[in-house]
Protein backbone atom coordinates (compact mmCIF):
# COMPACT_ATOMS: atom_id res chain seq x y z
CA UNK A 1 0.00 0.00 0.00
CA UNK A 2 1.29 3.43 -0.97
CA UNK A 3 1.65 6.35 1.43
CA UNK A 4 -0.76 9.23 0.90
CA UNK A 5 2.00 11.36 -0.65
CA UNK A 6 2.99 8.58 -3.06
CA UNK A 7 -0.65 8.00 -3.91
CA UNK A 8 -1.15 11.68 -4.72
CA UNK A 9 2.04 11.83 -6.83
CA UNK A 10 1.00 8.73 -8.76
CA UNK A 11 -2.51 10.09 -9.24
CA UNK A 12 -1.07 13.35 -10.58
CA UNK A 13 0.97 11.27 -13.03
CA UNK A 14 -2.28 9.64 -14.23
CA UNK A 15 -1.51 6.18 -12.80
CA UNK A 16 -4.68 4.08 -13.05
CA UNK A 17 -3.53 1.67 -10.33
CA UNK A 18 -3.24 4.59 -7.94
CA UNK A 19 -6.76 5.65 -8.87
CA UNK A 20 -8.00 2.12 -8.24
CA UNK A 21 -6.35 2.18 -4.80
CA UNK A 22 -7.90 5.56 -4.04
CA UNK A 23 -11.29 4.19 -5.10
CA UNK A 24 -10.89 1.12 -2.86
CA UNK A 25 -9.97 3.34 0.07
CA UNK A 26 -12.75 5.90 -0.24
CA UNK A 27 -15.61 4.55 -2.40
CA UNK A 28 -17.65 3.16 0.49
CA UNK A 29 -17.09 6.29 2.59
CA UNK A 30 -18.26 8.56 -0.24
CA UNK A 31 -21.16 6.27 -1.15
CA UNK A 32 -22.31 5.94 2.47
CA UNK A 33 -22.20 9.72 2.98
CA UNK A 34 -24.12 10.31 -0.25
CA UNK A 35 -26.65 7.61 0.59
CA UNK A 36 -27.27 9.02 4.07
CA UNK A 37 -27.76 12.53 2.73
CA UNK A 38 -29.69 11.82 -0.48
CA UNK A 39 -31.53 8.77 0.88
CA UNK A 40 -31.71 7.13 -2.53
CA UNK A 41 -29.36 4.44 -3.87
CA UNK A 42 -29.35 5.59 -7.50
CA UNK A 43 -28.67 9.23 -6.59
CA UNK A 44 -25.93 8.11 -4.19
CA UNK A 45 -24.26 6.07 -6.95
CA UNK A 46 -24.46 8.97 -9.40
CA UNK A 47 -22.93 11.36 -6.87
CA UNK A 48 -20.17 8.85 -5.99
CA UNK A 49 -19.31 8.65 -9.69
CA UNK A 50 -19.23 12.43 -9.94
CA UNK A 51 -17.01 12.73 -6.86
CA UNK A 52 -14.39 10.30 -8.23
CA UNK A 53 -14.47 11.86 -11.69
CA UNK A 54 -13.88 15.24 -10.06
CA UNK A 55 -11.08 13.83 -7.88
CA UNK A 56 -9.42 12.35 -10.98
CA UNK A 57 -9.71 15.59 -12.93
CA UNK A 58 -8.69 17.97 -10.18
CA UNK A 59 -6.09 16.02 -8.19
CA UNK A 60 -3.45 18.41 -9.59
CA UNK A 61 -5.25 21.25 -7.78
CA UNK A 62 -5.03 19.43 -4.42
CA UNK A 63 -2.47 21.47 -2.49
CA UNK A 64 -2.04 19.10 0.43
CA UNK A 65 -3.20 21.74 2.94
CA UNK A 66 -5.66 19.21 4.32
CA UNK A 67 -5.62 15.43 4.34
CA UNK A 68 -6.77 13.66 1.20
CA UNK A 69 -9.84 12.12 2.86
CA UNK A 70 -11.10 15.50 4.13
CA UNK A 71 -10.75 16.90 0.61
CA UNK A 72 -12.72 13.95 -0.84
CA UNK A 73 -15.42 14.22 1.85
CA UNK A 74 -15.64 17.97 1.11
CA UNK A 75 -16.28 17.30 -2.59
CA UNK A 76 -18.89 14.66 -1.64
CA UNK A 77 -20.73 16.97 0.77
CA UNK A 78 -20.68 19.81 -1.73
CA UNK A 79 -22.10 17.60 -4.51
CA UNK A 80 -24.76 16.17 -2.19
CA UNK A 81 -25.96 19.60 -1.06
CA UNK A 82 -26.07 20.77 -4.70
CA UNK A 83 -28.12 17.70 -5.58
CA UNK A 84 -30.52 18.31 -2.67
CA UNK A 85 -30.99 21.91 -3.84
CA UNK A 86 -31.69 20.72 -7.41
CA UNK A 87 -34.23 18.21 -6.13
CA UNK A 88 -35.98 20.91 -4.09
CA UNK A 89 -36.06 23.26 -7.09
CA UNK A 90 -37.40 20.46 -9.30
CA UNK A 91 -40.10 19.69 -6.75
CA UNK A 92 -41.14 23.35 -6.52
CA UNK A 93 -41.12 23.67 -10.32
CA UNK A 94 -43.25 20.53 -10.73
CA UNK A 95 -45.72 21.98 -8.25
CA UNK A 96 -45.99 25.18 -10.30
CA UNK A 97 -46.39 23.38 -13.64
CA UNK A 98 -48.93 20.97 -12.14
CA UNK A 99 -51.12 23.99 -11.34
CA UNK A 100 -51.54 24.62 -15.07
CA UNK A 101 -53.17 21.24 -15.51
CA UNK A 102 -50.98 19.63 -18.16
CA UNK A 103 -49.30 16.22 -17.91
CA UNK A 104 -46.61 17.39 -15.47
CA UNK A 105 -47.23 15.32 -12.41
CA UNK A 106 -46.45 16.60 -8.97
CA UNK A 107 -43.27 15.15 -7.47
CA UNK A 108 -44.21 13.72 -4.12
CA UNK A 109 -41.97 13.02 -1.13
CA UNK A 110 -40.06 9.78 -1.46
CA UNK A 111 -41.12 6.83 0.67
CA UNK A 112 -39.27 6.59 3.96
CA UNK A 113 -35.67 5.57 3.54
CA UNK A 114 -34.19 2.42 4.99
CA UNK A 115 -30.42 2.59 5.41
CA UNK A 116 -28.96 -0.86 4.58
CA UNK A 117 -26.46 -0.62 7.46
CA UNK A 118 -29.10 -0.34 10.19
CA UNK A 119 -29.79 -3.45 12.27
CA UNK A 120 -33.03 -5.20 11.29
CA UNK A 121 -34.75 -4.60 14.65
CA UNK A 122 -34.00 -0.86 14.46
CA UNK A 123 -35.15 -0.29 10.86
CA UNK A 124 -38.58 1.14 11.75
CA UNK A 125 -37.12 3.63 14.24
CA UNK A 126 -34.37 4.62 11.80
CA UNK A 127 -36.96 5.42 9.10
CA UNK A 128 -38.38 8.16 11.33
CA UNK A 129 -34.90 9.48 12.09
CA UNK A 130 -33.82 9.61 8.42
CA UNK A 131 -37.11 11.29 7.53
CA UNK A 132 -36.26 13.99 10.09
CA UNK A 133 -32.59 14.26 9.02
CA UNK A 134 -33.73 15.05 5.47
CA UNK A 135 -35.60 18.07 6.81
CA UNK A 136 -32.63 19.61 8.64
CA UNK A 137 -30.97 22.77 7.32
CA UNK A 138 -28.06 22.04 4.94
CA UNK A 139 -25.12 22.54 7.34
CA UNK A 140 -26.76 20.76 10.26
CA UNK A 141 -27.55 17.83 7.97
CA UNK A 142 -23.95 17.63 6.74
CA UNK A 143 -22.45 17.88 10.23
CA UNK A 144 -24.89 15.37 11.73
CA UNK A 145 -24.38 12.86 8.89
CA UNK A 146 -20.58 13.06 9.04
CA UNK A 147 -20.46 12.81 12.83
CA UNK A 148 -23.24 10.36 13.67
CA UNK A 149 -23.44 8.15 10.58
CA UNK A 150 -19.98 8.42 9.05
CA UNK A 151 -18.58 8.49 12.61
CA UNK A 152 -16.00 11.23 12.03
CA UNK A 153 -14.85 13.12 15.11
CA UNK A 154 -16.00 16.72 15.54
CA UNK A 155 -12.46 17.85 14.66
CA UNK A 156 -12.55 15.84 11.42
CA UNK A 157 -16.01 17.20 10.58
CA UNK A 158 -14.66 20.71 11.17
CA UNK A 159 -11.81 20.03 8.71
CA UNK A 160 -14.23 18.73 6.08
CA UNK A 161 -16.61 21.65 6.54
CA UNK A 162 -13.75 24.17 6.84
CA UNK A 163 -14.92 25.48 10.17
CA UNK A 164 -13.99 25.17 13.86
CA UNK A 165 -14.76 22.17 16.12
CA UNK A 166 -16.84 24.45 18.37
CA UNK A 167 -18.94 25.51 15.37
CA UNK A 168 -19.47 21.82 14.55
CA UNK A 169 -20.46 21.12 18.15
CA UNK A 170 -23.00 23.92 17.92
CA UNK A 171 -24.33 22.63 14.57
CA UNK A 172 -24.76 19.13 15.99
CA UNK A 173 -26.44 20.52 19.12
CA UNK A 174 -28.94 22.45 17.00
CA UNK A 175 -29.43 19.42 14.75
CA UNK A 176 -30.33 17.33 17.82
CA UNK A 177 -32.85 19.95 18.99
CA UNK A 178 -34.42 20.16 15.53
CA UNK A 179 -34.51 16.38 15.19
CA UNK A 180 -36.29 16.07 18.54
CA UNK A 181 -38.92 18.57 17.37
CA UNK A 182 -39.28 16.93 13.92
CA UNK A 183 -39.58 13.46 15.44
CA UNK A 184 -42.21 14.71 17.86
CA UNK A 185 -44.21 16.14 14.91
CA UNK A 186 -43.68 12.89 12.98
CA UNK A 187 -44.99 10.67 15.78
CA UNK A 188 -47.93 13.00 16.44
CA UNK A 189 -48.93 12.97 12.77
CA UNK A 190 -48.44 9.30 12.03
CA UNK A 191 -49.83 7.71 15.18
Amino acid sequence: MQSEQELISNLCAGDENAFRELFNLYADKVYNTALSMLQNQQDAEDITQEVFVEVYRSINKFKGESQLYTWIYRIAISKCTDQIKKQKTKKRFSFLTSLFGDDNTLIHDRPHFEHPGVLAEKKEDSKALFHAIAKLPEKQQSAYTLHKIEQLSQKEVAEVMQTTPSAVESLIGRANENLRRLLSEYYNNTL
Binding site: E45, H115, K122, D125, S184
Partner: protein, 100 residues
Amino acid sequence: MEPTEPHKISKAFESIDGIQRAEASPFLYGKIITRIRENIPAPVYYTGSVLIRFAMAMLLVAALNAATVGILKRPAANDDAQLRQLAKEYFGNEISGYTY
Protein backbone atom coordinates in the same frame (compact mmCIF):
# COMPACT_ATOMS: atom_id res chain seq x y z
CA MET B 1 -48.62 -0.85 26.59
CA GLU B 2 -48.03 1.74 23.83
CA PRO B 3 -44.57 3.37 24.23
CA THR B 4 -44.60 7.08 25.08
CA GLU B 5 -43.47 9.75 22.61
CA PRO B 6 -40.18 10.57 24.43
CA HIS B 7 -39.41 6.85 24.47
CA LYS B 8 -40.02 6.58 20.71
CA ILE B 9 -37.85 9.64 20.08
CA SER B 10 -34.97 8.14 22.09
CA LYS B 11 -35.36 4.85 20.21
CA ALA B 12 -35.21 6.75 16.90
CA PHE B 13 -31.98 8.51 18.01
CA GLU B 14 -30.50 5.17 19.13
CA SER B 15 -31.44 3.42 15.88
CA ILE B 16 -28.22 4.58 14.19
CA ASP B 17 -25.95 3.41 17.02
CA GLY B 18 -23.62 0.82 15.55
CA ILE B 19 -24.76 1.56 11.98
CA GLN B 20 -22.72 -0.31 9.35
CA ARG B 21 -21.33 1.50 6.35
CA ALA B 22 -23.30 0.87 3.15
CA GLU B 23 -21.16 -0.62 0.38
CA ALA B 24 -20.96 0.81 -3.11
CA SER B 25 -21.87 -1.37 -6.09
CA PRO B 26 -18.98 -3.51 -7.41
CA PHE B 27 -19.70 -2.12 -10.89
CA LEU B 28 -19.18 1.48 -9.81
CA TYR B 29 -15.44 1.53 -10.53
CA GLY B 30 -16.02 0.36 -14.11
CA LYS B 31 -18.67 3.05 -14.64
CA ILE B 32 -16.32 5.76 -13.33
CA ILE B 33 -13.43 4.63 -15.53
CA THR B 34 -15.72 4.55 -18.57
CA ARG B 35 -16.92 8.04 -17.76
CA ILE B 36 -13.37 9.34 -17.35
CA ARG B 37 -12.18 7.71 -20.62
CA GLU B 38 -15.16 8.88 -22.62
CA ASN B 39 -15.07 12.30 -20.94
CA ILE B 40 -18.82 12.13 -20.35
CA PRO B 41 -20.09 15.35 -18.79
CA ALA B 42 -22.14 15.39 -15.59
CA PRO B 43 -25.80 14.55 -16.14
CA VAL B 44 -28.04 17.51 -16.91
CA TYR B 45 -31.00 17.53 -14.60
CA TYR B 46 -33.17 19.90 -16.65
CA THR B 47 -35.32 17.96 -19.09
CA GLY B 48 -36.03 19.00 -22.67
CA SER B 49 -39.58 19.97 -21.87
CA VAL B 50 -38.39 22.38 -19.18
CA LEU B 51 -36.02 24.06 -21.63
CA ILE B 52 -38.75 24.32 -24.27
CA ARG B 53 -41.12 25.83 -21.71
CA PHE B 54 -38.45 28.29 -20.60
CA ALA B 55 -37.74 29.30 -24.22
CA MET B 56 -41.48 29.74 -24.87
CA ALA B 57 -41.86 31.86 -21.74
CA MET B 58 -38.94 34.04 -22.86
CA LEU B 59 -40.50 34.42 -26.35
CA LEU B 60 -43.81 35.40 -24.76
CA VAL B 61 -42.08 38.01 -22.59
CA ALA B 62 -40.26 39.39 -25.65
CA ALA B 63 -43.51 39.51 -27.67
CA LEU B 64 -45.35 41.28 -24.85
CA ASN B 65 -42.52 43.80 -24.55
CA ALA B 66 -42.58 44.48 -28.29
CA ALA B 67 -46.36 44.85 -28.26
CA THR B 68 -46.21 47.24 -25.29
CA VAL B 69 -43.55 49.39 -26.96
CA GLY B 70 -45.62 49.42 -30.17
CA ILE B 71 -48.80 50.46 -28.35
CA LEU B 72 -47.02 53.19 -26.41
CA LYS B 73 -45.42 54.64 -29.54
CA ARG B 74 -48.39 54.62 -31.88
CA PRO B 75 -50.97 56.73 -29.99
CA ALA B 76 -48.50 59.56 -29.36
CA ALA B 77 -48.63 60.73 -33.00
CA ASN B 78 -52.38 60.11 -33.32
CA ASP B 79 -53.12 61.95 -30.07
CA ASP B 80 -51.24 64.99 -31.31
CA ALA B 81 -53.13 65.07 -34.61
CA GLN B 82 -56.45 64.52 -32.87
CA LEU B 83 -55.74 67.32 -30.39
CA ARG B 84 -54.88 69.70 -33.19
CA GLN B 85 -58.09 68.75 -34.99
CA LEU B 86 -60.11 69.27 -31.82
CA ALA B 87 -58.46 72.61 -31.12
CA LYS B 88 -59.12 73.70 -34.69
CA GLU B 89 -62.79 72.77 -34.41
CA TYR B 90 -63.11 74.42 -31.02
CA PHE B 91 -61.22 77.66 -31.66
CA GLY B 92 -62.01 77.85 -35.33
CA ASN B 93 -58.36 78.15 -36.45
CA GLU B 94 -54.99 76.50 -35.92
CA ILE B 95 -53.54 77.13 -32.48
CA SER B 96 -50.03 78.44 -32.05
CA GLY B 97 -48.70 75.63 -29.94
CA TYR B 98 -48.54 77.67 -26.73
CA THR B 99 -49.82 76.08 -23.62
CA TYR B 100 -52.26 78.33 -21.79
